[in-house]
Symmetry: C2
Subunit: 148 residues, 2 copies
DNA sequence: GTAATAGTTCAAGTTATGTTGAAGTCAAGT
DNA sequence: ACTTGACTTCAACATAACTTGAACTATTAC
């Protein structure tokens, strides 16, 4: 039956190891049905879900968070356009934020090169503590504050 | 003597734990001098280096690579403008690439919402394997190929 | 000079994300 | 029916990046 993939087929299509699929399933990020003999069979939908998992990892999210994000989608069935839309929308802020962070990094790097600082030691932009100490311990310029 | 920081002072300014600084030093990413009693004293320069370490981690680089990147800078002395310039320049491709990746992700997410796919199952953009299977196992759309 | 605070090393523990290996079972082709 | 390759579980290992704890020492404030 086309429509169900073995773990090997799914892994090959995704370019990842079968062990990773079992791991994701174990962690509840994907689901499978089983043959009478106990082997996994994945709906095609799993390909998209796993693609998202890998994409989300690039953004720096841990599987725990990816899982809760994926919880918006129906576990088995392919998502409707509305479900998909809502899912995608929920991702935009994350992506935009990360892009903003990287652009800031790139731009400050560039600015610092050209900003005419006489001494890099006293450059406001790249010396996190020296001037930022006013903001109290933990003030940083280049490093985003992440939840502890 | 102003100019040398205790590990606690440096950690407070950077907003990280002292154990992290010892860890970075152990790994050779930063250096310190020692007091007669054996306590670490950090030159102010360490603040910038550690800021970079944290920034680079946001980009997704492992410490091993960050270390080799930092090797371009003088270990103790503050870098000259030229040294800094070269260092910063070496970072741009990394940053640009990561930004490009995230933008692609964001845009494809958007495209898929509006692309009029009748069925998400057959959407070229988000179904990595279905059409991309022509490219052989491992072809993916959303996931960047990273060095194994 | 002494107490409190902050520092030292070293080993072991933690979380995240998987991979690897052993021992055995299923599915498919001939 | 039998062989082969793909699958199963479960436990252990791997690596990164730190943190924690124990036992001890330095520095600083009074």
């Amino acid at each position: 039956m086309r429509g169900l993939l073995t773990i090997g087929e799914a892994a090959a299509r995704l370019g990842i190891a079968t062990s990773a699929l079992r791991f994701y399933e174990d962690r509840g990020l994907i689901v499978s049905t089983r043959t009478s003999g106990g082997q996994r069979r994945y709906a095609r939908d799993v390909l998209r879900r796993v693609s998202f998992i890998r994409a989300a990892q690039q953004v720096g999210l841990p599987l725990r968070e990816i899982k809760s994000s994926l919880a918006q989608l129906p576990p088995e069935r392919a998502p409707s356009k509305e479900e998909w839309e809502q899912f995608a929308e929920s991702w935009r802020p994350r992506l935009s934020e990360q892009i903003r962070l990287l652009e800031a990094m790139r731009d400050r790097l560039g600015n610092c090169i050209g900003c005419g600082c006489q001494s890099l030691d006293s450059c406001d932009i790249f010396n996190p503590g020296d001037k930022a100490a006013d903001d109290g311990p933990g003030a940083r310029y280049l490093v985003a504050d992440v939840a502890s």
